[in-house]
């Protein structure tokens, strides 16, 4: 396409502005994490720490049980992702391959469930979990995460199943393969990358989740990373900036790594799920 030089220059200027808007806050977080207290107290902060230090990281671990919190987060997010995908995959298969009243209602539910404010879900769940003595426990949180992850897991997986040609399964059936055999040796291998992407996406969203964890977990040793991070901010909003930045930076790394791996698949999965026929 022909684009004039001036238009090109304008496009690059706009792109640079976007890059700055997206990147600078994050760079500021990283910069703050490596600054000694003296620099943070001074009035003229700089982009590059004049005297970079790792002391903030050590102090962050001393102030709050970060390791414990990271383990709790890992446990909750991993269990929720595995359980959600195991439960959702068979249903997504049916939703993609058949159109019955049930699958139509299920697709409707996936959309409607996005519209409910969590507070309306968490009050009754809080009461139910309290009766089951699962308040203030990671298993209770996992149950909530599974239910919360199911709609988007179904959504994405349905898209991935649709991308596996039904003709392949039919060909296998013509060759005399049984239903289970077809699922295991034809569909599953083609679906595996989609299942992995969905599980990783569920993992990151659970790892990042804050609201349910805040409501359900009260004991400090049981809290997940996002909840513990907020403890760095005092009642009056005063925070020890260095350790706060250091801990926040560390908590983000797993999400960034996982997201970098699955980004492309996530996009295609979300949109494939959106294609109705």
């Amino acid at each position: 396409m022909r684009t004039r030089k001036s238009a090109r220059a304008g496009q690059y200027a706009a792109l640079l502005a976007y890059l700055a808007f997206l990147a600078l806050p994050f760079l500021w977080l990283v910069s703050t994490a490596f600054k000694p207290p003296r620099e943070l107290a001074g009035l003229h902060p700089t982009w590059i720490p004049q005297d970079p230090t790792l002391a903030n990281f050590r102090q962050a671990f001393d102030e709050q049980p970060l390791l414990r919190a990271a383990l709790n987060s890992l446990l909750a997010a991993f269990s929720a992702a595995v359980v959600a995908v195991v439960l959702a995959t068979p249903m997504a298969y049916v939703m993609a391959r058949r159109r019955t009243a049930l699958t139509r209602v299920a697709s409707g539910w996936v959309v409607v469930s996005q519209a409910f404010p969590f507070v309306l879900l968490i009050i009754p769940l809080f009461l139910v979990l309290k009766n089951l003595r699962l308040i203030d426990s990671v298993p209770g949180l996992v149950m909530v995460y599974v239910v919360w992850a199911l709609p988007f897991a179904l959504w994405m997986l349905t898209g991935y199943v649709r991308a596996v040609p039904a003709e392949l399964e039919e060909a296998a059936a013509v060759d005399g393969a049984g239903r289970l055999r077809i699922l295991v040796s034809v569909t599953a291998p083609l679906l595996a990358p989609g299942i992995a992407a969905t599980a990783l996406f569920a993992f990151v969203t659970a790892w990042n989740e804050f609201f349910f964890a805040l409501v359900l977990l009260k004991t400090p040793e049981k809290q997940t990373l996002p909840v513990v991070l907020t403890h760095f901010i005092g009642a009056e909003g005063v925070a020890d900036l260095g350790p706060l930045a250091a801990a926040a930076f560390l908590a983000t790394l797993p999400s960034l790594v996982v997201f970098a791996i699955i980004q492309r698949r996530i996009t295609s999965g979300m949109l494939a799920g959106a294609v109705k026929n």
């Binding site: 496009q11 806050p25 009050i123 009754p124 649709r162 039904a166 239903r179 908590a251 960034l256 026929n277």
Partner: protein, 312 residues
């Protein structure tokens, strides 16, 4: 995306049509659906209905007397609760104030990324950062940016000679705009990615044909690009509006609803009512009012979608 649509049409299944394997087919779906269906019914549909019922009771946390039905008393109280309606208004301002710039900025970025520019890879890589970050970290990060003394925003303003001693998140006038900027930042990448995928479905030949016919950039956008991305744009905007209206963590970390309630979104209000003051019934009623608001948004979206059904 197009190939996906093509393979997903309900293809005739010769083996399934024969009488013998039919039994297996009829029972198969149930067996496959139940593992997900039971948790959804028990832990999602059930609790939501229970939550709606709670709105008509005087349920409280830690009370020994049995909970009673009180009809619509909670809703009547809510009607006169000026604090809640103020919070509701703030929620709407926030939702629209975030969603609209989010969409416009995301559309601009998506159009840029669709061009053959250098540095495109960098923008794509950076775009995942806000998306992947925990909301709590996004909040913490922007607190550092907005910090009065150690923040980069004030330092930059000082360098430019534009003041730079503002306490952005505590100022009555600046708090809501400041958190709205954060909301835009946090949600922009997801919208960009969705719009970009929509753009990639635009028929390139049409675009070129329009250019040959001498159509300007705006005309080409209006007649070729927009009709192609309209369904995606509508869907992502409706979802953004709902998600933003229901959002919690960002503002909780940034201002916790302050100063003086200026950023107290409805979710923060309902959270405090339920889990600080223990008023479960009253908070559930607030949740119901929020559902009603969201339903109106969804209805508007669906009407828009139906109306655009011919050209979408």
């Amino acid at each position: 995306m197009t190939p996906v649509t093509e393979v997903s049409r309900p293809a005739p299944r010769a083996p399934d049509r024969s009488p013998r394997p039919r039994r297996a087919v009829d029972h198969g779906p149930w067996f496959l659906v139940l593992p997900a269906l039971i948790p959804i019914l028990v832990l999602s549909v059930g609790p939501l209905l229970y939550g709606i019922l709670l709105a008509f009771t005087d349920a409280q946390s830690g009370r020994t007397e049995p909970t009673r039905w009180i009809g619509t008393l909670n809703f009547q109280d809510l009607l006169h609760d000026t604090l809640f309606w103020e919070s509701f208004r703030i929620g709407l301002v926030w939702a629209v104030g975030v969603t609209v710039p989010q969409f416009l900025l995301a559309l601009g970025l998506a159009l840029l990324l669709h061009q053959d520019l250098k540095l495109r890879w960098l923008a794509r890589a950076l775009a995942i950062v806000p998306w992947a970050m925990p909301e709590v970290v996004v909040g913490i990060m922007w607190r550092l940016v907005y910090n009065t003394d150690a923040g980069i925003l004030n330092e930059t303003l000082r360098d430019l000679g534009l003041g730079g001693d503002r306490d952005w998140l505590s100022g009555l006038a600046t708090a809501l705009p400041a958190v709205i900027v954060v909301g835009v930042w946090a949600g922009m990448p997801q919208t960009t990615v969705a719009l970009l995928a929509g753009l990639q479905n635009t028929p390139r030949e049409l675009h070129e044909a329009a250019a040959v016919d001498g159509a300007g950039a705006w005309r080409r956008f209006r007649t070729v690009t927009w009709p192609a991305i309209r369904p995606v744009a509508l869907a992502i905007t409706a979802l953004n509006l709902i998600w933003n209206f229901n959002s919690f963590a960002l503002v909780y970390v940034l201002t916790n609803g302050g100063p003086g309630g200026r950023t107290r979104l409805p979710m923060l209000f309902a959270y405090e009512e339920a889990f600080r003051y223990g008023q479960f019934g009253y908070a559930a009623a607030m949740g119901c009012v929020m559902v009603a608001a969201v339903s109106v948004m969804l209805a508007v979206f669906l009407v828009g979608r139906l109306r655009g059904g011919d050209d979408a």
